[in-house]
Amino acid sequence: MTELMSSGIELMFAGMGIVFLFLTMLVFVINMMSGLILRYFPEEPALSMSVPVAVNSSSDTSYIAAITAAVHQYRSTH
């Protein structure tokens, strides 16, 4: 067997090993994460989890919303 082939086979074992190691650890971590979340941060009914973005969102995006709202109010007074 050539040296190239042996490094290929070594690579295969290392590679599949790491892929399995990685994804197996991911399984454990996900289970842990889900457990912690479901226990300590259970999803409240309805939409309560949604961050009140509209209130303190970015200066860039909420421009439109703000200005639209403002213009409406402004126009409605004219």
């Binding site: 290392a14 790491i18 303190n56 970015s58 200066s59 200005i67 403002a70 213009v71």
Partner: protein, 375 residues
């Protein structure tokens, strides 16, 4: 076996430095603030993620050959902040300001925050270990402008090493405007002042809105050409929107284009949050000075409004002076909210939009001064 050792030596665990780990925590903190606290998520989420990516050992994502290295060119060449400013210009309605132009002076007054923190940065040099140059101080001061693209543009020209800290400070304090401003506004005004109702704004014609960005640009050309990259791109965006004949370009500038550039700019800013640059005593100074800049800017705006009330026959509610720092439209909303507390029938939002957008112009002018006078 060799492979395994080589793999182990290429893991993150093996290669982590304390600084990288700490910066990654900062990145996660920014993500937390963005997602859970709603702190300027459009910018702080990409910045936070960029900070994490660029501090990964071995991967070299922000080193030559990595994607963040290439994206950073958009900031280094000044392209990204200017394109964002163009989009912001397209989103801005100058109507309220044109209806009541003297609110521009509130936008001027609030810029005191910039220069006060510049002086503050220089004063901090007395502390051993801190050494801010004039360029550093100017870049720090611009945090007080409360305008992301302006701050990033100026910092990338004057003090690229401080860019990460400055951008983070600028966007964080913008997000904190609802906490920073109200106590200052309440402290400097009487209940009677906060109750002042303002005259209804007149209708502003389309022609005025078309001519205004050109007027602004012209004045900037004549007086302060160094501000024209910023003012010019802003005016261009605003004209595209106001003129009504290039609707599809205006829409793209304020939607897809600004979104794409925001993603890239955020990641690229994050790539400047490296341990060497950020984990310095300087950064604490920057954060402190940024807070001072916002506070002083707010106070100056309010005081200017009170001063103008002395000389003007049409009443000005001093609360709208606080909106002069820009941080559009949050500062205007804060003014509206505090006003409603004193007088539930007093909607200040449109009145506060005048100084609010004036503040954007004011900081661009201040940026022009800094870029022109500091060599």
């Amino acid at each position: 076996m060799e492979n395994l050792i080589s793999l182990w030596q290429s893991t993150g665990i093996y290669n982590f430095t304390a600084g990288q780990a700490f910066m990654m925590l900062i990145g996660f903190l920014l993500l937390f603030l963005a997602i859970k606290k709603g702190f300027e998520p459009l910018l702080l989420l990409p910045i936070g993620f960029g900070a994490i990516l660029s501090n990964i050992p071995v991967a070299g994502i922000s080193e030559e050959g990595g994607i963040l290295y290439f994206l950073y060119y958009g900031i280094k060449l000044g392209i990204f902040p200017l394109l964002i400013f163009m989009g912001v210009g397209a989103m801005t309605d100058f109507g309220p300001m044109l209806a009541n132009p003297k609110t521009l002076l509130l936008g001027a007054a609030a810029q005191v925050g910039i220069f006060a923190s510049l002086i503050g940065a220089l004063a901090l040099n007395v502390i051993p270990g801190l050494e801010f140059t004039l360029k550093d101080a100017a870049a720090i001061g611009i945090i007080g402008g409360a305008d992301g693209p302006t701050a990033i543009y100026v910092a990338s020209k004057l003090a690229p090493d401080l860019l990460g800290a400055i951008a983070v400070a600028a966007y964080s304090y913008m997000a904190l405007v609802p906490l920073i401003q109200p106590p200052i506004m309440r402290a400097l005004t009487t209940e009677a002042e906060r109750k002042i109702e303002m005259q209804q704004l007149r209708h502003v014609s389309k022609t005025e809105k078309i001519i205004f960005p050109l007027t602004l640009l012209l004045l900037s050309i004549l007086l302060l050409p160094s501000a024209t990259p910023l003012v010019g791109m802003f005016a261009f965006g605003n004209l595209m929107n106001a003129c009504g004949v290039v609707e599809r370009l205006s829409q793209t500038a304020q939607n897809e284009l600004i979104n794409i550039v925001t993603i890239f700019l955020g990641l690229a800013v994050g790539s400047k949050l490296s341990a060497e640059a950020f984990l310095q005593f300087k950064t604490l100074g920057i954060l402190a000075l940024g807070a001072i800049a916002f506070a002083i800017g707010t106070a100056s705006g309010v005081m200017m409004a009170k001063l103008m009330n002395r000389f003007s026959d049409t009443p000005i509610n001093p609360l709208i002076g606080a909106a002069g720092v820009s941080a559009v439209p949050m500062a205007a909303r804060v003014a509206n909210k505090i006003g409603l507390e004193s007088n539930p029938h007093n909607f200040l939002l449109m009145h506060a939009m005048g100084p609010n957008v004036a503040g954007v112009i004011g900081s661009a002018v201040a940026a022009g001064v800094l870029l022109s006078l500091i060599k």
